[in-house]
Symmetry: C2
Subunit: 227 residues, 2 copies
DNA sequence: GGTGGCTTGTGATCGGTTTAACAAGTCACA
DNA sequence: TGTGACTTGTTAAACCGATCACAAGCCACC
């Protein structure tokens, strides 16, 4: 029987946390394909990690498999869904309705997984007042007010880097507990506020580095860094 | 005098490589501000890492500072520019001219750093033949031919995940040495081909995990993972 | 019911990354 | 020119994450 650990006083290593979405993705694929059972051996080979690593990762959260049998795909998928918090919904605001912002807002998979955009903000008079994906684009000066009326879980910053910090400050002051930042700036926020930075440009620079520094080592390497 | 190591037989650790763009970004900011000199102490405090770590990282590539003085911002910036390969230009093709693809193609910073889009491909008849950012959108069936005529350094995949692997195969067959993938799929490529995956959705899932698992630890954590 | 083959979860080991410490060298200024 | 404060590059130690190895347990089949 799958048994979830309390996790209250267990510290989950960074590296483990970053792999959870990968497990989630592959389990989703197996589920869609109708596969019932999977062993750590099989799943880890698909992903390209060791079976040990996968089992050890899961062990931070509990026991989800059965010896001699493996994991029931449905159960493990549900368990990871809950671990990742993807069983509930989140209210998002997005600030900076430019090219990248529009791509995020119109991406259907987010809504499908419970990430709901409830407010779009910009400072461009040509955009303000118009509609995008069924949402009115509001003046960024009204963001603070909006946050007082409507509780928001995640603030998305897709505005230019020069204004990212001041937007973050407004979000924090408005009680937003987490920021998803796409601007190439490091945000300073009070302890307790979660910032997740998505490094698009950094990722391209790493690619350029790797092109110029032929590694003897293996080629399938993915994002990593911490600061 | 700044002295660059040969680096031919030195293996640069993953973790070090991922921090290079961060150094590059902060040095660029200092340069723009007109700062001439910086010590590992100052720079590392700005970034939020230890001075030891920064010096150790740089030591993989050579000696760029002066004892008792620190680093000349201009020199270190130039050194890292070259280490990252940002002093030369790259030819890129992008496959899947959707919302995300258009955001990338129209992002001016890439062109400014030498990343030049020279071909856009899609399979949507409504898009094919039209122009975007001065480039014609071509049928994806002509990609293989295009690659034979025009050497390409980086292939960008912003098409749906279902077709990502087959696009990657065409890119590889056409001799493209590096792939920048935005589709949520792990690509299988021959050894020697570089794949850099930018995990937008994964990043949001990590945010959701962190919202639901209050870490006692510090809050400023950035992307990491390897597979 | 017993046996063999598998597979999990976990303590032990290995390797890599981060931090600490210091000798050597530079600058500023008397 | 000499002295002191400062900072680098590097070697060593501590820490953390990945891999290994195995006892415990389950399933299937005889
Ligand atoms: N597009 C990319 O490929 C890409 C890649 C890497 C990083 N980024 C970063 O993502 C962010 C968005 O990029 P983009 O390409 O969508 O840029 P964009 O210029 O298309 O959009 C930026 C939007 O922010 C709005 N804005 C400007 N100042 C504002 C303010 N004070 N308050 C609210 N809104 C404001 C602008 O009106 C515009 O609509 C930027 O920080 C950029 O550096 C983008
Ligand atoms: N937009 C986002 O916020 C976001 C977030 C995470 C991941 N992604 C991923 O990035 C990719 C692009 O996302 P998007 O939002 O731009 O999607 P999109 O639907 O706007 O664009 C996809 C484009 O690919 C084209 N295409 C489809 N099949 C093709 C083929 N066989 N060959 C060439 N082109 C083809 C489509 O015509 C379309 O223009 C997808 O894989 C998506 O899962 C997007």
């Amino acid at each position: 029987m799958p048994r979830r650990k309390s996790l209250d006083h267990v510290v989950v290593p960074q590296a483990v946390m970053r792999r959870l979405p990968v497990y989630y993705r592959y389990l989703g694929a197996l589920l869609a394909r109708g596969t019932e059972r999977v062993s750590s051996q099989e799943l880890s080979r698909m992903i390209g990690i060791t079976a040990s690593q996968m089992r050890q990762d899961l062990s931070y959260f509990g026991s989800f498999g059965q010896q001699g049998y493996g994991y029931r795909v449905r159960d493990l998928h549900r368990a990871i869904t809950e671990i990742l918090g993807l069983h509930r919904t989140y209210q998002l605001v997005l600030v900076g309705v430019g090219n990248l912002g529009r791509a995020l807002v119109s991406y259907p998979s987010f809504a499908n997984r419970g990430f709901r955009f409830c407010g779009l903000f910009d400072n461009d008079p040509r955009l303000i007042g118009s509609e995008f994906c069924g949402l009115e684009i509001r003046p960024v000066d009204t963001l603070a007010d909006f946050l007082h009326q409507c509780p928001v879980d995640i603030g998305v910053i897709t505005a230019p880097p020069e204004v990212a910090q001041q937007i973050a400050d407004v979000l924090v002051a408005g009680g937003v507990p987490a920021i998803w930042n796409f601007a190439p700036t490091s945000l300073k926020v009070p302890k307790g506020v979660i910032v997740e930075h998505t490094h698009i440009s950094e990722s391209l620079m790493v690619l350029s580095f790797r092109l110029n520094n032929p590694e003897e080592a293996d080629t399938s390497v993915e994002s990593a860094s911490n600061q």
